[in-house]
């Protein structure tokens, strides 16, 4: 599962941390139905909201970045789950109809 782009995300997380940023890592832990990124996919988030990698096809990254900023403050890891989006309600979710569970942790 260590394909190049995933390794780049982990390298960026280390580099940002070394440069003095607060950093969090989000990892897809489980998927149900059709979802764009498989378990093990990473998103690294920096304290200025800059991010690298992906945990969905771009559907939930915004919310995951928010969660990551929260986790950087508390230091407590968190499991978050996203389901099907509802276009009319402007909810965050996956248009593909899948469900995804994401583990968000701070790099300490």
């Amino acid at each position: 599962m260590s394909d190049q782009s995933e390794t780049e995300v982990l390298l960026a997380a280390r580099q940002w941390k070394a440069a003095g940023h607060r950093v969090a890592l989000a990892t897809v832990v489980k998927t149900w139905g059709s979802s764009p990124r498989p378990a093990g996919s990473h998103l690294a988030v920096r304290d200025d909201s800059h991010f690298l990698g992906s945990v969905s096809g771009g559907c939930v990254e915004g919310r995951v970045v928010e969660e990551a900023l929260g986790v950087m403050k508390t230091g407590e890891p968190k499991l978050v789950e996203f389901g099907v989006s509802n276009d009319e309600a402007w909810e965050v979710g996956l248009a593909c109809g899948g469900r995804v569970e994401i583990f968000v942790e701070a790099i300490e």
Binding site: M1, S2, T7, L11, K17, L25, V29, P77, F103
Partner: protein, 226 residues
């Protein structure tokens, strides 16, 4: 995640050592495990399954004890025998898909740095080259020369290895004569069934780049839908 754990994961990736990161999804506690490591038989089995399938394993429906086992395997490798025209787009595409590529061809006019900038070239005879590369279950071998003198020695080594993919470029006719030669050399029909020949998915490819797409697609299919 502790910085030390992240450093150890990245170190394992850099040194091509297979490891599994075990994360307790409740507490966030993490351990790095190698093949054969684990607290009990169940855990050792989870580690080995994650590495074999190259896919994370999550244990237990019980929220408080859920552990996520994420494998970090050494990179996939692709060995191309024959520094021919098709090897140019195929090596580029394979690198994009995450493969470490080596091109084997003892003919220095073909295996020239200028033709393959940045790609590892091995000018030794194909059987020697493949022996020294040490093919494993994350290796793919594709012969491209059409020349039995070069392709066959490579196939002899590949067929005795754990390579997950062995493919040969060439027409149905040349493939039939290739199989005849290999049978004569002592390989059984069951062994020869591993060879994809003519290599590539039938997508009507014409140009070298299109053929490279069809070959890479078949390699991916073999890896992901075994």
């Amino acid at each position: 995640m502790k910085s030390e754990i992240l450093d150890m994961v990245l170190e394992s990736i850099a040194t091509k050592r297979a490891v599994v990161l075990a994360t307790n999804l409740e507490s966030g506690e993490q351990r790095l495990l190698g093949r054969g490591d684990g607290d009990d038989d169940d855990e050792r089995a989870n580690v080995s399954t994650a590495l074999r399938l190259d896919k994370p394993v999550t244990t237990g429906p019980d929220e408080s004890r859920r552990i996520f086992y994420q494998p970090f395997n050494p990179p996939l490798r692709m060995v191309l025998v024959g520094a021919v025209h098709i090897a140019q787009p195929l090596s580029t595409m394979a690198v994009l898909a995450g493969y470490e590529v080596t091109i084997v061809d003892p003919r220095s006019a073909f295996a020239a740095e200028a033709r393959f900038p940045g790609v590892a070239l091995d000018l030794s005879w194909p059987d020697q080259a493949l022996e020294s590369l040490g093919l494993d279950a994350r290796s793919a071998v594709v012969t491209l020369t059409h020349d039995p003198k070069l392709d066959d020695p490579a196939l002899h080594v590949a067929l005795r290895s754990d390579a997950f993919f062995i493919g040969c470029l060439g027409s149905k006719k040349t493939h039939a004569t290739r199989l005849k030669r290999l049978r004569k050399a002592g390989f059984t029909d069951a062994e020869l069934e591993r060879i994809k020949g003519p290599v590539g998915l039938p997508i009507g490819s014409r140009s070298p780049s299109e053929i490279a797409v069809s070959v890479l697609a078949q390699v991916i299919e073999t890896l992901r839908k075994p």
